[in-house]
């Protein structure tokens, strides 16, 4: 038995490592992505005042605090059975889409996209934002920074600060948008739409016109036939802020559609002793291990999953981009993991268009921003689509609104089984008879970076700069080969 360890070594034990076990023939038997991190929010939130949750759960993730903030705020609406004012809903949705747009763009240009823009076979040291600028031009780099800056300014206007927003209340939001601020938001939305159109044309030029990349995208190594989950509106169009949760099977057929309040009828979590992360699966299919197909309850979330689980986008330009993606790839659903990157750009365009639509709505500056709760709280459940997938907050309280039970179904855990499978599949394809090619570092890294998983430095470090170390041990435990990514 050989054991291979891929550990983002400078992160030490902090966040994520991959262990690969070989069988006696020297082929990959099993791969495990371990998440050695836990903070226990579900427990230490007990005893807190429920209304503080939008300001506590933001600290689960400083990269996507707005997602937790909004899921928590919506759980409070449900807890107190209070309907937000229409202006408040629009303000929240606007803020939320600004966040999706900037987060997706950050990921595409800084984290995942360099694999394509610079090239999957390019030296690791060039596959980063600097490599993107070198290939696409300095002007592109400037645009990326400007896009992020403008969208984060929208978050600042509405939520106080982009890292750790504070505006959510049961029944609404705390702050009204001024007419001047609205103008700034409209400009940000216009910039965002133009930028995302540009990003899609860049993807077209650099990726789609290159056969090698297209083969990689559509190849079997990165493909899994799984169920897909995402929030949809009343027309089954993708919606990040609200709607029903829709699940399609590996053939693209609707398997379930439900309100988040019924999530317990549909979602379960599996525990493994070797990692702190739990694995979500569909209750009505069941946990069959780390396998794909219709018989396995493993499902996927996040950009491609949302597009697969929907009938389209609710804005015109994004709908065009959506159609083009599926036409190019031969119809729905698409199972190729690397297409998450493309779907991410389609979604960023939708988010920008939605920011603009909402900012142009005169009601957005209304002072009618909150309905005060009058009911006695007991239980509340809220959902949003985080950039990395469906995110559910579930609270139980006493009649004073003090938390007695908290459950969080976090986006990345919904993908965690599939991420393990993708890593294992890449390892199985590349490791034969004990031969461990150097390229395995890139390929495995690409497999899990497509999901943009939020549990690891490994995935929030700059690609190509992520230190990886692979050690191969023989059955006696002695080191026979060591690969280091510098």
């Amino acid at each position: 038995m050989k054991k291979i360890t891929i550990d983002p070594i400078t992160r030490l034990e902090g966040h994520g490592k991959i262990e690969i076990f070989l069988n006696d023939e020297g082929n990959c038997d099993r791969a495990c992505l371990q998440i050695p991190e836990l903070r226990g929010f579900e427990k230490f939130s007990e005893g807190r005042a429920a209304e503080e949750m939008p300001r506590i759960t933001t600290m689960i993730c400083g990269v996507c605090p707005t997602a937790h903030h909004m899921a928590a705020t919506k759980a409070l609406d449900d807890l107190w059975k209070v309907e937000p004012t229409t202006a408040a809903k629009k303000i929240r949705e606007l803020m939320y889409n600004a966040f999706q747009a900037e987060d997706h763009i950050l990921h595409f240009f800084f984290l995942g996209g360099p694999d394509f823009v610079v090239g999957p076979q390019a030296p690791a040291g060039e596959r980063n934002i600097l490599g993107v600028i070198a290939k696409a031009g300095m002007e592109t780099g400037g645009k990326v920074i400007e896009m992020r800056k403008r969208m984060r300014n929208v978050l600042r206007i509405i939520g106080g600060k982009p890292v750790m927003p504070t505006c959510g209340l049961p029944g609404g939001v705390s702050k009204q948008i001024s007419e001047d601020e609205r103008k700034t938001i409209i400009e940000a939305g216009e910039y965002g739409v133009d930028f995302c159109k540009f990003a899609l044309s860049l993807f077209d030029d650099i990726v789609l016109k290159n056969k090698e990349y297209v083969d990689l995208i559509t190849g079997d190594v990165y493909s899994h036939r799984t169920y897909y989950m995402g929030l949809v509106d009343e027309n089954n169009k993708v919606n990040f802020y609200d709607g029903q949760i829709r699940v399609v099977d590996p053939n693209g057929k609707e398997f379930a559609k439900f309100k988040v309040q019924n999530y317990l009828d549909h979602i379960r979590e599996h525990v493994e002793p070797w990692t702190y992360v739990k694995f979500s699966y569909l209750k009505n299919v069941g946990w069959k291990g780390f396998v794909d197909g219709e018989e396995s309850g493993v499902f996927r979330v996040a950009p491609l999953a949302r597009l697969n689980a929907s009938d389209g986008m609710a804005t015109p330009l994004a709908q065009e981009a959506y159609d083009k993606m599926y036409e190019t790839l031969g119809g729905k659903p698409v199972h190729s993991t690397l297409v998450f990157h493309w779907a991410r750009l389609v979604e960023a365009l939708y988010a920008s268009e939605r920011v603009l639509e909402l900012a142009k709505d005169p009601e957005i500056t209304s002072d009618d921003i909150v309905n005060l709760p009058t009911e006695t709280p007991k239980e509340g459940i809220g959902v949003v689509e985080a950039p990395r997938g469906t995110l559910i907050h579930h609270y139980q309280t006493d009649d004073q609104g003090i938390l007695t039970g908290v459950n969080l179904i976090v986006a990345t855990q919904n993908n965690s089984a599939a991420i393990n499978m993708s890593v294992e599949k890449a390892a199985k394809a590349l490791i034969k008879k004990g031969e461990v090619p150097d390229g395995i570092l890139n390929m495995i890294e690409m497999a899990f970076r497509a999901y943009d998983p939020c549990h690891a430095c490994a995935t929030h470090s700059l690609p190509g700069m992520m230190p990886l170390e692979v050690s191969v041990y023989d059955s006696g435990g002695s080191l026979v080969k060591k690969l280091v990514r510098d």
């Binding site: 030490l12 427990k43 506590i56 600290m59 890292v163 209340l169 525990v271 070797w274 929030h460």
Partner: protein, 326 residues
């Protein structure tokens, strides 16, 4: 002249302190120009052995964020201390324990039982919980130990300065970097933010009456929050009087009360105790002598989750530190 060497490191944290560094936007290039970054696990490929190879004190300054929860974090922090002239606790978690410090209301077993067994979606009839060592088909997988208690950075090693906030705002980061580069540093142990209470710089300061009195505590959802009036004057608990300023009053400007992420001003050991005495001093100040015991109790009971409110960010750094272990 050689550029000063700088290291960044994160312990148990959420990545928000990294995001705030990216939010420096163009300024980040100025910083990168002026210093030589020798260690930054999130972005650059330097290894522990590179740090070990440096001479003691060779790194000019290490910025360390996150609270300390794993043995390996503790070792790394101590190594960086040895190799660095200055150590700066970066952000509320390193400074005060932060939100993860609320874990000190509980312990490891309570957290594991909830997360892996009790939660309604968990299907775990065998009661599996993560193990430090797991046998898998003849191999072995290891996980780091999860400690019962969250610690601040200065409970782990000697700290020279503190950059407060969740997260620290970009302007304070730039000021601190400037001061370090110019060697214009305050006394050791200083918090690199103004030594004033948030109330002193609050945009609502003028609406704060000279003599505050709360006759009924209001939770933020119980009233329509006035966007201009002092929160305490509205009956809403705000940690402004017990909290250092320098944050740009971002939460107040979004019409939400302060929750204390900057910690206390100089000389205050326990932010929560300070906040509690502040609240006690203004509750029912007017007409206190005429209140029945029941009325007083009702007034006090109006404060939801007092411990989790006054110690929101500072439980791990408080005199209590944690709930007593049974």
């Amino acid at each position: 002249m050689a550029k000063p060497k700088v290291a960044f490191y994160w312990c148990a944290s959420c990545g928000g302190c990294e995001e705030t560094v990216i939010d420096l936007n163009e300024d980040i290039l100025k910083v990168a120009d002026a210093v030589d970054i020798v260690f930054w696990p999130v972005a650059l490929d330097f290894k522990r052995k590179d740090i070990e190879a440096l001479k003691d004190g060779e790194i000019a300054v290490s910025f360390i964020n996150g609270s300390v929860r794993l043995e390996e974090q503790e070792e790394m922090v101590k190594l960086l201390r040895q190799k660095s002239g200055l150590v700066v606790a970066f952000g509320a978690c390193a400074h005060l324990g932060g939100i993860p410090g609320l874990g000190n209301f509980w312990n490891r077993d309570a957290i594991f039982n909830r997360v892996y067994k009790e939660i309604p979606t968990v299907e775990n009839p065998e009661g599996t919980v993560p193990q430090e060592k797991t046998k898998v088909d003849g191999g072995e997988l290891t996980l780091p130990e999860f400690y019962d208690t969250v610690k601040t950075l200065d409970q782990t090693t000697d700290v020279d300065y503190y950059l407060p906030g969740c997260p620290p705002p970009p302007d304070l980061i730039m000021k601190a970097v400037d001061a370090i580069l110019k060697g214009e540093l305050p006394e050791k142990g200083a918090v690199l933010a103004p030594n004033k209470a948030l109330c002193d710089t609050c945009p609502r300061a003028e609406s704060k009456p000279d003599k505050l009195s709360i006759d009924e505590v209001k939770r933020p959802w119980q009233i329509k929050l006035d966007p201009e009036k002092c929160f305490l004057d509205q009956g809403v608990i705000c940690l402004g009087p017990a909290t250092r300023t320098g944050c740009g009053e971002t939460c107040i400007r979004a019409n939400q009360p302060c929750r204390g992420c900057f910690g206390p001003v100089d000389g205050v050991v326990d932010q929560g105790a300070k906040a509690l005495s502040m609240v006690a001093s203004i509750l029912g100040l007017e007409g206190e002598e005429n209140m029945t015991e029941e009325e007083v109790k009702k007034l006090i009971d109006g404060i939801a989750d007092p411990a989790g409110t006054v110690y929101r960010f500072s439980l791990a750094s408080s005199l209590l530190r944690r709930r007593r272990m049974e």
